[in-house]
């Protein structure tokens, strides 16, 4: 899987028109002499045949070496390791907040009668439609410029984390709540809920103890997708809030056509995605005893 991602990225990058050696020296505007170009080609192994370059980059990847940045002249591994923490923190906190909002919203919209149901549906629909870049701008305008509660650019402390996290979490919670409400409604019609009601359990208790677990299952399998969605959202959010992180590094690398960094970010994200798939599989097994039963059979 990882090999496929690396291969695809490697050959896709070769489609870029222009000389990579020129990109190292700051683009076609740099007016580099032929000797310098030769030197750079030799340094980065660009004078060798494509197959050799490909095998070399795979070999390096196997040892965890991602090459070195064209623009910043530092090893990509170090660069990304320094940025990864901030983005993971942002994404994980946002994912947790999105879950909280989604659970609260879907519980409320399925208990509160018809008005709550349609209002809840409206909230889900609207928040799922909010683009990150617009939500971030509006939040800054209201909470930083008008009210002055939170800093408009990230300061590295907790207060600076709040607006970026809310920006990422709100649209995601809309998606999660839509999925959860649907399953929650189906589950509440099922016979085992009827028997719980017959035993005299309260409506809140039924939801918390029995139905929520079912409703969480599709949400959990969505979480792998959600983390990817959050990381791609981090490109926008980190840029707006001037937060150091993977997303902002990626955007800068895209603008500068810094190929090793782009490749590195893509590979790191693929690793995160694969890990997350493993984690969500395990989590669904925890939440859904039927999956565990199937395996023992």
């Amino acid at each position: 899987m990882l090999w496929a991602v690396a291969t695809l990225t490697f050959f896709a990058i070769r489609l870029i028109p222009g000389d990579p050696a020129e990109a190292v020296l700051g683009g076609p505007g740099s007016q580099a002499s032929e000797e310098t170009l030769e030197q750079v080609r030799r340094d980065y192994g660009l004078d060798q045949p494509l197959v050799a370059q490909y095998l070399q980059s795979l070999g390096r990847l196997a040892t965890g070496d991602l090459g070195s940045s064209y623009a910043l002249k530092v090893p990509v591994g170090e660069l990304l390791a320094a940025q990864l923490g901030g983005t993971i923190l942002l994404a994980v906190v946002a994912l947790a907040l999105a879950w909280l909002i989604a659970i609260g919203l879907s519980l409320w919209s399925t208990t509160g009668g018809r008005v709550a149901a349609s209002v809840g549906q409206g909230i889900e629909l609207t928040s799922a439609a909010l683009p990150h870049f617009w939500l971030a701008t509006v939040l800054i305008a209201v909470f930083s410029t008008q009210l002055g509660w939170f800093p408009p650019v990230s300061t590295g402390d907790l207060r600076g984390l709040i607006l970026p996290v809310v920006t990422l979490a709100l649209p995601l919670s809309g998606f999660l709540a839509q999925v959860m409400r649907g399953t929650l409604l189906d589950t509440l019609d099922s016979p085992f809920i009827l028997s719980a009601r017959a035993r005299g359990e309260g409506e809140i208790g039924i939801r918390l103890r029995h139905a929520l677990r079912h409703a969480a299952i599709p949400g959990i399998s969505l979480s792998g997708w959600a983390l990817g969605y959050l990381i791609s959202g981090a490109v926008v959010v980190e840029t707006i809030f001037a937060r150091p992180g993977l997303g902002r590094t990626l955007l800068q690398a895209v603008t500068l056509r810094d190929v090793p960094v782009v490749t590195g970010v893509v590979i790191v994200v693929a690793v995160v995605y694969i890990l997350m798939t493993v984690v969500t599989d395990a989590a669904s097994r925890l939440a859904d005893p039927r999956l565990r039963l199937e395996e023992t059979r």
């Binding site: 609207t126 870049f133 701008t137 410029t145 969605y229 694969i274």
Partner: protein
């Protein structure tokens, strides 16, 4: 007895089909407005979107300038209307690209036999490891920024999702009872494909397209916002938002209204897509 039952069922189905909810009505009206703004912008706009009036710069929203004016005194409402065509064109073309690519991949996987199905599934799985905008950003690294590459980039990055859904649909239809019986009756494979499979696969495609346009508009606007799609002098929603960001403290209307259009477009496309989905299921 059985006749009576049939009659009641069709009667309720017909009644349900005729009833249009308030949400659907609003969404339809908004889409009509968008279409009008695209086809005949002069009809819905109140001023020339490019007319500069330095004395009227940064006017707050009022009856003469519904959405206020920007730093050069241009009417924001008319610019939003002028940007509708560009934004919708990008969104619709990106969806068309993604959907046709997804259709090709989905059909290959659904009908091409086991080996092709396996291959396409693996490719789609690998592409899923480039979530959201990531694939689009990769395309932009290769092809360079600009509105056309942004459109293609968004289209390409939505294709894997479509491919997976379409393959699922086709496999479901292929193994359905009516295709089975057509096969037993000795109909030729092309006839089965044309008469039974394609008509049943097309309705969900229409739903996917309706849902997808809203998402594509958002992604394309995001790329423009990041400076990788349409560039600021253009009256495109994402680019307008990006240009207005500088004045967010003093002139909120420069960013709020173009963003609101994006949000409303997405909501309208979701509402209509869902109502199409339920209708096609009932019909």
């Amino acid at each position: 007895m059985s006749e009576l039952e049939v009659r009641t069922v069709t009667a309720t189905a017909a009644r349900r089909r005729r009833r249009i909810g308030i949400g659907e009505l609003l969404a339809l009206l908004f889409v009509l407005f968008l279409l009008a703004a695209t086809l005949v912008p002069g009809l819905v706009s109140t001023a020339d979107p490019n007319a500069i009036d330095a004395r009227a710069a940064f006017s707050t929203p009022s009856t003469s300038h519904w959405f206020g004016t920007d730093e050069s005194g241009r009417d924001v409402y008319s610019r939003v209307v002028a940007g509708t065509g560009t934004s919708l064109l990008i969104g619709v073309s990106a969806t068309a690209i993604g959907l046709s690519l997804g259709l090709v991949l989905g059909v290959i996987a659904g009908f091409g036999g086991r080996v092709l199905d396996f291959t396409v599934n693996r490719v789609v799985e690998v592409l899923f490891a480039f979530p959201g905008l990531l694939l689009a950003l990769l395309v932009i690294v290769i092809a360079g920024p600009g509105p056309v590459t942004a459109t293609i980039a968004v289209g390409l990055s939505t294709a894997p999702g479509y491919a997976r859904i379409i393959r699922g649909q086709l496999v479901g239809i292929r193994s359905s009872a009516w295709v089975e019986s057509a096969r037993v009756l000795g109909h030729s494979p092309t006839r089965i494909l044309r008469r039974h499979i394609l008509p049943n696969a097309l309705a969900p495609l229409f739903v996917l397209a309706t849902l997808g346009v809203g998402q594509a508009v958002v992604w394309a606007a995001a790329l423009s916002y990041l400076g990788l799609g349409a560039q600021p002098p253009a009256a495109e929603w994402g680019a307008m938002l990006s240009a207005g960001r500088t004045y967010i403290g003093s002139a909120w209307w420069l960013t709020v209204f173009p963003g609101l259009m994006i949000v409303l477009t997405t909501i309208a496309s979701t509402v209509l897509g869902r109502s199409l989905a339920t209708r096609s299921r009932e019909a």
